[in-house]
């Protein structure tokens, strides 16, 4: 039960931080997407079934508090989660640059997925949306990538403290 409730609570906490503290005016241009970092951390460390369901739930919550009327995050987040699951044994993720690059590439991939879905689902042309990729989304992806290494370490340490056996729970395999 602990292994389900703690990640759910952590997800809601991260979402709350993202919609309040990280949305303050002085940080809004580069505000990092910490829910995405949590999604990717779960992708490389949690079991595919419970982790997948949790990430779907987090995506659903993101959609609820977002101006996005289509529910795109409920799709994109599990999609990224399973991509991370597929790659987790093939890439080295113990150093700062490798973690940051991993998160940066996934953030970009999500941005492109969202753009493609929005273009496909919207009957109208959306010229105002494309400049956001460079002015808002790219700085956000960079800040998310830079923060991810610290968050990955904290999450790893937290899960090893919370769960007695190392290598289990949200931080284990």
């Amino acid at each position: 039960m602990k292994r389900i409730l703690i990640p759910v609570f952590l997800g809601v906490l991260f979402l709350t931080l993202q919609t309040t503290w990280l949305a303050l005016p002085f940080i809004r241009w580069i505000r990092p997407d910490i829910v995405l970092v949590l999604t990717l951390y779960l992708g490389i460390s949690s079991p595919p079934i419970s982790g997948g369901v949790l990430v779907f739930f987090l995506g659903y919550l993101m959609d609820l508090f977002s101006g996005n009327g289509f529910g795109l995050y409920a799709f994109s987040r599990p999609f990224l989660f399973y991509c991370a699951q597929l790659l987790k044994d093939r890439i080295y993720l113990e150093s700062f640059p490798s973690r940051s690059l991993f998160v940066f590439l996934f953030a970009l991939a999500e941005g492109l997925t969202l753009l493609i879905l929005l273009k496909a689902l919207n009957p109208e042309h959306l010229p105002n949306l494309y400049p956001l990729f460079f002015t808002v989304f790219l700085p956000q992806s960079l800040s998310t990538a830079l923060l991810s290494s610290v968050l990955f370490s904290l999450l790893k340490k937290g899960s090893s403290l919370l769960y007695a056996e190392p290598g289990t729970g949200i931080g284990g395999k």
């Binding site: 919609t19 949305a23 369901v53 508090f65 101006g67 996005n68």
Partner: protein, 290 residues
């Protein structure tokens, strides 16, 4: 039994992956088709998670209060002098405005204009912002229990903020006018030229379908036209910053700075009663009926 064994024991992981992605696609399809999700689920989850946002925002406000009240007093004297001067200016402006209001009242009675702005409004506080940078929305602490419904106009003393996108029993999500999905029927205050205000992302909007022949200059104020039903006529939307007449076609484009500073948004007003349709719209309806 065999199918269950096959799906949930041997291929448990691929089955869950497919089920999850499929349910996400079904949700997208539901939302695209009917513009609504699973209403009960949405409401329940919003009700559970909104109090966290409310708590977090109140902590931010407390810290801000302490900062502004006690620590940020360095230039207090200078600021006091400036404020006194500003107050005198505002007083003078206020007297002029009173005169204008009286004159307006006389004209209004004379022409038997109907009241366009509904008096029933709901005051609400902002408790959170959009978790994503792609979309522009805020969460407020009033919902269906308070009479808030989807599509209602949201304003502040400075002007138009947006409209209600999603509702839960005691919380709602407001789609800001800066979101690319937002479109409001508007008029230029000075020339009465009609146009559509569309969201342009970070604290800016675009004016579309504005005829090239219309005289529009930077600094012109843009107000709601009252057409479309959601917004009463005459609410301030913003000020034109740039006019673009380049290119071909019958339209010109203009960039608009919203009158509301969305980065400092705290309290908002939701217009509960929809205003009566303007005379032009009524005429159109009568013509259609004929």
């Amino acid at each position: 039994m065999r199918i269950r064994d096959f799906l949930f024991r041997r291929y448990a992981i691929p089955t869950v992956v497919i089920l999850l992605l499929l349910s996400a696609l079904i949700l997208i399809s539901l939302r695209v088709k009917e513009r609504k999700g699973v209403a009960f689920m949405d409401g329940l989850l919003m009700e559970i998670s909104s109090p966290f946002q409310k708590g977090s925002t109140s902590v931010i406000n407390k810290i801000k209060g302490v900062w502004e009240g006690y620590l940020f007093l360095v230039h207090l004297h200078k600021e006091n002098e400036q404020l006194k001067k500003r107050m005198a200016d505002l007083q003078r402006e206020n007297d002029q405005m009173r005169e204008m209001v009286l004159s307006h009242e006389r004209l209004r009675k004379l022409l038997q204009f109907r009241e366009t702005l509904s008096s029933t409004v709901i005051a609400a506080e902002m408790v959170g912002r959009d978790p994503s940078s792609w979309f522009k929305s805020v969460t407020i602490n009033k919902g269906e229990k308070d009479g808030v419904r989807k599509g209602m106009a949201v304003i502040s003393s400075e002007g138009v903020i947006g409209q209600i996108l999603k509702t839960a029993p005691s919380h709602s999500v407001v789609l800001l006018i800066t979101d690319y999905n937002s479109a409001i029927d508007s008029i230029i205050q000075r020339t009465r030229a009609k146009a559509i205000v569309e969201g342009g992302g970070e604290n800016r909007c675009q004016l579309k379908y504005l005829l090239r022949a219309e005289d529009v200059v930077p600094g012109d104020k843009v107000i709601t036209s009252g057409l479309g039903g959601n917004f009463p006529k005459g609410l301030m939307i913003g000020e034109i910053r740039k006019v673009d007449k380049k290119g071909h076609g019958i339209f010109q484009y203009a960039e608009l700075v919203p009158s509301v500073d969305f980065t400092r948004l705290e309290e908002v007003l939701v217009i509960k009663e929809s205003p009566p349709p303007p005379a032009e719209e009524k005429v159109k309806k009568v013509k259609k009926a004929k």
